[in-house]
């Protein structure tokens, strides 16, 4: 190997901007993010278009056609009231996703803020907030749900509020744990030193460094919340009929799992696929948000 004959001089670095931002490039390169977002987009589109794309009226009861197995006119069969499972699945995407995403939005916002505040100020603020968390945590979810329902009456909004109440403490504790270590990093001190106000330290320094695990945590929550909604409607305080929800379909289908598995199974599969979508997207986003990400 001779030093002189190297033909290609330094590989020219491509121009810094080629229309796409760093984020977009990383996103497009992350397999997890791509598969995840395709699935999520699909589910979201189905949910949005639900009223127009259901093959049957999802609330149409036909008592003489109950528990039809999949096939024929009813692609995924019918349920205990002869309603078309596929149509209900499509409609259910709407409610289930609305509930899950609203709860996540609320709890992620509040939980993260409170957790960061607790870890940042520590001392009394931390103590008061975290003891509050202890108490809420200790209440069985159902009790909280029932109390909320008693105050507000059953319905989708109640479900969202109740689940949000139950969910934020976990988020808060997690955000707190992450920030506790992070706040000791020198770059945080550097932020203080250049006069960054506390809220912006949290926003610019702490949040971006905990956002990845928080996203992953949120993506885990989608399925759990959908299932929690089912438990609530079991007590009559959930999303009200005739709106189908996936959780509700699984719950209704479970007792008949051995005789007529198609109801519980199809809803479970829909939920599973959605969760896979959100989780891959969550992990993908994590990778994308990490400037050192490994590409592929």
């Amino acid at each position: 190997m001779t030093l002189e004959t190297s033909k290609t001089d330094a590989v020219k670095a491509p121009a810094p901007r080629r229309g796409l931002s760093d984020f977009q490039i990383r996103f497009l390169r992350s397999r997890n993010a791509m598969i995840g977002s395709i699935i999520v987009a699909f589910v979201a589109i189905v949910a949005l278009l639900a009223p127009w794309i259901t093959p049957h009226d999802p609330t149409k009861v036909s008592i003489m056609a109950t528990w039809l197995p999949p096939g024929g006119d009813h692609l995924l069969g019918t349920d205990a009231l002869g309603r078309d499972v596929l149509s209900r699945l499509i409609m259910g995407a709407r409610v289930s996703l609305t509930v899950a995403l609203s709860v996540l939005a609320i709890t992620m916002t509040f939980g993260t803020i409170l957790g960061m505040v607790a870890a940042w100020y520590r001392g009394h603020v931390d103590n008061v907030l975290m003891r509050f968390v202890d108490i809420i945590f200790a209440f069985p979810e159902l009790i909280i749900a029932i109390i909320v329902a008693a105050a507000m009456g059953p319905g989708t909004f109640t479900v969202i509020v109740a689940l949000a109440l139950v969910w934020w403490p976990g988020i808060a504790r997690m955000a707190r744990a992450l920030v506790l270590s992070l706040r000791e990093e020198p770059f945080v001190e550097a932020g203080i030193a250049c006069g960054t106000p506390t809220w912006r330290i949290m926003w610019r320094h702490l949040l971006p460094n905990i956002v990845s695990p928080m996203i992953v945590r949120a993506s885990l929550g989608v399925g759990m919340i959908i299932m929690a909604e089912a438990t609530m409607s079991f007590l009559g305080i959930g999303v009200q009929e005739p709106y189908p929800t996936w959780g509700g379909m699984i719950r209704d289908g479970l007792p008949n799992l051995r005789t007529d598995p198609h109801l519980a199974l199809s809803a479970s599969v829909a939920l599973g696929i959605t969760m896979i979508g959100f989780n891959l997207l969550g992990d993908g986003l994590r990778d994308v948000l990490d400037p050192k990400s490994r590409g592929r």
Partner: protein
């Protein structure tokens, strides 16, 4: 540290007191009341209702009831159950108090190492097909409702293969299925979070230093990288342990285990105030102690975290 711990413990008694008050009023805010449940279809028989209300002391003003309850808590019986006529609360929950934590702990002891293993494994191979595969598997685990998983396991292992008893409590064999069901979800959650936390540290300089020392790759990953993610992981484990305690309900129902979760739900449904309150109180104590331990472990896991300094 000791100072901090004692101060926190003192703080906790306050929390418990608050929890006591909150639960007392919260359970009463729930629609329906124990007498209604006892009357069931006969709700509406005013005479019977009045008599039972008097028998159970529920006709007294709330503050009086509250004081009576405090007395019951202090004398250690936690009062008389409404649902289990003539039994003290402590009798009702005594077995459950050990069963549920035992279940939760056994599950935790299995879920944590497995979860860490899968999480670390995936993180080390981040971006590869193996990683995507593990994520898919874990997410599948998370999305299987525990009812369904239990049904599946029973069908396979108990009915078809006759390896394990269907349900019940007492023998080690009867522990296998419920613990398995309990393990799956938390294991997957721990794994997913571990992967994330690990990826946050795997590229840090000190990991490179460890490699430069010629430290074995396993040790680089498990000791250096994982060691630096333990704070959030331990937090998650604390949260999951809490979730296991209350989440044991499903498993206790399916596998017929007389645990606290089932008693809790039964008592809520029966509006058995004394039992509900006591269980909530018990959970409060559990949770706050778990969280206290977690907080205390923080300083040990990450020496940069110091609570006593901040309090000073």
């Amino acid at each position: 540290m000791l100072h901090y711990a004692t101060r926190r413990l003192l703080g906790l008694t306050l929390v418990w007191a608050v929890a006591l008050i909150v639960t007392f009023f919260a359970v009463r805010a729930v629609p329906g009341d124990p007498i209604m449940v006892m009357l069931s279809d006969h709700a509406g028989d005013a005479a019977l209702e009045a008599r039972l209300r008097a028998d159970y002391g529920l006709d007294r003003p709330l503050p009086v009831q509250f004081l009576a309850y405090i007395g019951d808590v202090l004398n250690g019986t936690f009062g008389l159950s409404y649902r289990y006529v003539g039994s003290t609360v402590i009798d009702v929950i005594r077995d459950g108090m050990t069963i549920t934590p035992l279940l939760a702990l056994s599950a935790l002891f299995i879920a944590v190492p497995l979860g860490l293993f899968f999480g670390v494994f995936a993180a080390v191979r981040a971006g590869s097909w193996a990683d995507t595969g593990i994520i898919l598997l874990l997410v599948t685990f998370i999305s299987i409702p525990s009812f369904a998983l239990a049904a599946l396991l029973v069908w396979m292992l108990s009915l078809k293969l006759a390896l394990l008893p269907v349900a019940g409590w007492g023998s080690p064999a009867q522990l296998v299925l419920p613990v398995t069901v309990l393990v799956v979800g938390p294991m997957a959650v721990i794994a997913r979070l571990t992967r994330t936390y690990m990826l946050e540290v795997l590229d840090r300089d000190f990991v490179r230093t460890a490699r430069a020392k010629g430290v074995r790759e396993n040790r680089v990953i498990w000791r250096h990288a994982l060691g630096n993610t333990m704070v959030p992981i331990v937090t998650s484990i604390g949260l999951i342990f809490g979730g296991l305690l209350s989440g044991a309900f499903v498993v206790e129902t399916v596998f017929n285990i007389p645990g606290l979760g089932r008693i809790a739900i039964d008592s809520v449904l029966a509006r058995d105030y004394p039992v509900t309150m006591s269980i909530v109180l018990l959970f409060t104590v559990f949770y706050s102690l778990i969280n206290l331990c977690v907080d205390l472990i923080y300083a040990w896991l990450d020496p940069r975290i110091r609570f006593d300094e901040a309090a000073a």
